[in-house]
């Protein structure tokens, strides 16, 4: 066990040598992003339940419940595969979405419509559009691959009892709804605590705050709550994650058109 950790440490040291000579803010930002990404690698597969609470300006609430199954990518170019199953609202119950994500090109996505027993290819390159009417957009919900952004380290800053790296992240995809994000990650475990999103005009659009982190498999940190506030509309969405399970035995066979049609 010790030797495996040592090997992993060595590999990291070779891949990202600690530079003592002057590092540009861009290089340091990328290094932080790579380290945060590396700490999320090797999860294999996981499943989790999610409850979404949509809050209007007046405080009215609407709920959505869904389940997510994710299989980690095996190859270099490949991305993760995931299956999202919607339970509420009731009229979309049984609807399921299959996503093959890629590091450098648009994801492939299919939607299963149970009433028609039909699988439809999602054609829309809708990154900035709201996910299920919430304050989370499609690009907020997907995996944050290192390659999809450029970075710039700003400063270290106290965040609660921890110390955080504060850095800017710029989407490389021209279809992104954002010009930049400011991200707060703690220096101990590289967990994201806060993200400020700036819209295409460069003004502050939304703030995401993640909290109630738990560690799984002695390695992976997951938040139980994620709150997104839209500063321009006054609307907000809370995500509550529960029932996190790792090593559930998912395989490639759970992520094809057949499994999509019986996802329910």
């Amino acid at each position: 066990m010790t030797s495996r950790f040592l090997t992993a440490g060595l590999a990291l040291a070779i891949a990202f040598p600690v530079t003592t000579i002057a590092q540009t803010p861009e290089e340091k930002g990328l290094e932080i992003a790579r380290e945060a990404d590396a700490r999320g690698n090797g999860f294999g597969d996981f499943q989790a339940d999610m409850k979404m609470v949509l809050i209007t300006q007046r405080g009215d609430q609407a709920e959505r419940e869904l389940r997510v199954k994710t299989l980690e990518a095996k190859g270099e170019e490949e991305g993760d595969k995931s299956l999202t199953i919607f339970d509420t609202p009731r009229d979309v119950r049984g609807t399921a979405m299959l996503t093959f994500s890629y590091k450098t090109k648009d994801d492939d996505q299919w939607l299963y419509l149970p009433a028609l027993r039909r699988v439809k290819t999602i054609a829309s390159r809708n990154k900035s559009g709201p996910f299920m009417g919430s304050e989370f957009s499609f690009e907020d919900m997907r995996g944050q691959e290192v390659e999809k952004y450029t970075y710039k380290y700003l400063r270290d800053e106290a965040c609660g009892e921890l110390t955080c790296y504060v850095m800017e992240r710029y989407p490389t995809d021209k279809h992104s709804g954002y010009t930049k994000m400011v991200v707060w990650l703690d220096k101990d475990e590289y967990r994201t605590w806060k993200v400020d999103y700036y819209d295409r005009r460069g003004s502050l659009l939304k703030t995401l705050e993640s909290s109630d982190y738990s560690q799984y498999k002695d390695k992976f940190w997951q938040p139980a709550k994620m709150s997104m506030v839209n500063h321009q509309t006054g609307k907000a969405t809370d995500l509550f994650w529960s029932n996190y399970q790792y090593d559930t035995g998912l395989s490639e066979a759970d992520f094809n058109q057949n499994s999509l049609k019986r996802a329910r």
């Binding site: 009229d91 492939d108 829309s124 709201p130 066979a253 094809n256 058109q257 057949n258 329910r264």
Partner: protein, 427 residues
């Protein structure tokens, strides 16, 4: 009685805890017809209807076995044919390593286009239920699905045939003549012939999706044959130009045995989804071919809002020279969908199918939104323009006697424009 109830609920309790699920939907529909009916039997302008679709689901063996039971029933105010019930699904799915078996009554959809579902052939259309043809009757089947690196192959054995449902004499819209319950079959085994189908599908990560299929069995589309006339009726028609009072002409559905090969092709690039469906069918008169091709494109974040505007353009073509079979021969579909992406999932859909030969248009408008968590409401309107009045039974038979093969076009459904409100509750 009370004791039985207690016993039943005690029995049901462990069932619920062991992965049994009960759910479903109930819908109420009201229609207003904007024109007078050409048929005296269907002389009304408002119609009410309701349906119930419960679902009983069970899974075991770590979800490697799934059981589904979905009965369906509809009651209609005027049309006794539309008051009907069906078993939409009663099936058992077993998932193996690289294969899946699906046995029982099920619904299977094939296809990629929106204008006409040419390739889709496994299930019979429940036409009396919905005029858009999207509602299907449950089909008994044994289906083996093989998952390989090079694609998914589905093999179907289809024992038993379902006849298409048609509106009755009191129905709106309806056929110019009522459709007889005594169908004619080419197969001597009639509705108990065993049909076969196979489909191969593959997805390529360059954006191409492909499916090839073949069906061999009783056609789901019947030819509607005007029933033969008696000697007296023939003489009356020839001398007076009209059928004698009291005669009761009907359409008899004829189900041929056909072979149909289908192609589905999709190509996604830069947000443009190109689609093509094609079939070649033999066994129903001369071999004929049909195609439906076009594209789908969505403009996202319209005018800086969260709303999307989707476009569908398709061209539908068929080389079948048989007016009884299909009212669509060279048509253009233009559809647009406005999605608000709001909490209520508000949507507006508009579509027009334009027959370039007959210059007829079928227009549909639909909008829907959710109320709360369990209720969905929709408004729908369907208009048929430039469609000739349907011919009277006498005129229809006169044409046949003269061997005039006029395309009935949208005639059978003309003068049945309607607006509809529907509320569906999900439990």
């Amino acid at each position: 009685m009370k004791k039985n109830l207690i016993t039943a609920s005690l029995l049901a309790m462990p069932l619920i805890s062991m992965g049994w699920e009960f759910r479903g939907e109930v819908g109420l529909e009201g229609r207003y017809f904007t024109q007078d009916s050409p048929y005296p039997e269907a002389d009304y302008s408002t119609n009410g209807s309701a349906y119930l679709k419960p679902e009983i689901l069970h899974e075991w063996n770590d979800r490697d076995d799934l059981f589904t039971f979905i009965p369906y029933a509809r009651v209609d105010e005027h049309d006794s044919e539309r008051t009907h019930w069906d078993i939409r699904e009663l099936s058992w799915i077993h998932v193996g390593n690289g294969w899946e078996s699906r046995v029982g009554i099920r619904k299977v959809f094939w296809g990629v286009t929106e204008g006409r579902h040419l390739v889709d052939i496994i299930n019979q259309t429940d036409q009396v239920d919905q005029v858009d043809g999207e509602e299907k009757l449950g089909q008994p089947m044994i289906n083996l699905s093989l998952v390989r690196d090079w694609g998914i192959v589905d093999l179907f054995v289809l024992p038993g045939f379902r006849e298409r449902t048609f509106a009755g004499e009191e129905g709106r819209p309806r056929t110019p003549l009522p459709v007889s319950d005594d169908a004619l079959y080419e197969s001597s085994r009639e509705d108990s012939r065993v049909d076969f189908a196979i489909r191969f599908q593959q997805y390529f990560d360059n954006g191409i999706e492909l499916a090839l299929s073949h069906f061999s069995g009783t056609s789901r589309d019947p030819l509607l044959i005007p029933q033969g006339l008696s000697q007296a009726e023939l003489i009356a028609l020839a001398t007076t130009g009209a059928l004698p009072a009291g005669s009761d002409p009907e359409f008899t559905p004829l189900y041929n045995v056909i072979d149909q090969t289908g192609l589905e092709l999709q190509y996604l690039q830069n947000g443009w989804l190109w689609k093509l469906e094609g079939i070649s069918r033999s066994g129903q008169g001369e071999r004929f071919n049909a195609l439906d091709g076009g594209f789908e494109y969505t403009q996202v974040g319209l005018f800086g809002s969260a709303a999307d505007l989707g476009w569908i353009v398709e061209y539908i073509w068929e080389d079948r020279d048989d007016s009884l079979a299909s009212p669509l021969a060279s048509d253009v579909l233009l559809g647009t969908r406005f999605t608000f992406n709001d909490v209520a999932s508000t949507e507006i859909l508009a579509g027009i199918i334009y027959d370039t030969e007959e210059e007829e248009k079928a227009i549909s408008l639909e909008s829907s939104r959710r109320f709360g968590n369990n209720l969905k409401a929709s408004l729908e309107a369907r208009f048929y323009t430039d469609a000739a009045d349907p011919r009277s039974p006498s005129a229809l038979y006169r044409d046949i006697l003269r061997n005039v093969n006029t395309n009935p076009g949208l005639g059978p459904i003309s003068r049945s424009d309607f607006v509809q409100a529907e509320v569906v509750y999900y439990f």
